[in-house]
Subunit: 249 residues, 2 copies
Amino acid sequence: MSEEVVDPSHPRYQSLMMRKRISEAGVKGMLADSALIAHGRGEAFDYLLGEQTIPSALEATREVAARLVAAKKPVLSLNGNAIALAAREFLTIASQLGCPIEINIFYRTPQRMGALLAHLKLLNSDLGLDVEILGGIPDAKIPGLEGPRAACQKDGILEADAILVPLEDGDRCEALVAMGKDVLVIDLNPLSRSARRGTVAVVDEVSRVATNLIQLIPEKPEITNWDNDKALQSALDHIVGDMSDKFES
Amino acid sequence: MSEEVVDPSHPRYQSLMMRKRISEAGVKGMLADSALIAHGRGEAFDYLLGEQTIPSALEATREVAARLVAAKKPVLSLNGNAIALAAREFLTIASQLGCPIEINIFYRTPQRMGALLAHLKLLNSDLGLDVEILGGIPDAKIPGLEGPRAACQKDGILEADAILVPLEDGDRCEALVAMGKDVLVIDLNPLSRSARRGTVAVVDEVSRVATNLIQLIPEKPEITNWDNDKALQSALDHIVGDMSDKFES
């Protein structure tokens, strides 16, 4: 895809642009192969949602904004795909919140970490921001996880009270919940373990969520008594509503 | 993923093995980047189907077997993902039918065609088969398509009366239907244009379908008056049935 020019009049322009960003990040060495496959899984669920922010997802995004604003030590935990898809937006959000970003990748190699750090630091300076970027030199472990997947930083994920985890692995999501944190998930699959186990799960595409958060954070919304299951069922109902009797008419 | 060993006791072993095959084919230069993303989309739909052959898919597979057996000039049109996922199985099927395989890729480069041809020819000889592999030197065009996507061979796709197209692009599928062929689609997305426009669409994972075809072809099943829409709705109903009231209990 990366060789192709995306036509802005294409009905699926946004989705194709995101695919292009993922392909380009792959070429830059920012991603594991499995990242492209994971992006494809996300595309399928976004396609079923109609590639739009559904009402329950916007409510969930407002709840995430409320909890990030109210947190004492929030952090944005970003993996390769989240950085490929919405690095500018997440830097803006971190700047609004005055919190760090921690790069946190599943298949950790020095090359990939280096490429991601370089990409974020360049954008940080391009945008005239001064967001702290953690993750390069882990000095702590997430309890209950083994190997490089447990690696984190004390000033970031370890001590955070609220953590935004776009596209997070299920095991890590559960380990973070077990630490007692507010775990704020962005995941297009309403049936994923991350979506089900998170404190608040936004079933929406990551760049749309990030753009919405930039609008919502300055409004300082109030935290509610969030019912995550209800929001997930609402996302499933949206998908189902589009599928029943599709071929009967 | 390709560095990782897949544990046979993992509940999603088959799916992880297919992911491994795709990653390995990528490393061998057999695939475009978009192939990994497409595989991920397939994974998501397979996940929604429960990673199993549902009854309507098995019926559709039987219908495909019937039409391939009855055809005067059948051909298997394989792209990079189909070859990565089930090359051995498709060689076996072509041998059962005494028909050629035509390699037919969307993003055609000489390198990628060379890698795919080499892979199939090596397996052909490993399996002691003598299946004719077309696609390397296209000498005809599919009417209604432009650019390298139209390229095909006279002895293969152009003159075939029945064509098996696993994971086919929607435009090409429609162009083949317009040529009056029996277009036999394998596609995990029951809403895709290929699934909707094909003569018979099997909503199932490509290696499972290929394995089932190997069993069904020797039975020489009878062609029926196939209702493709009914089979697609049945696949959607299966997905929907699993989603309603998921979080209510």
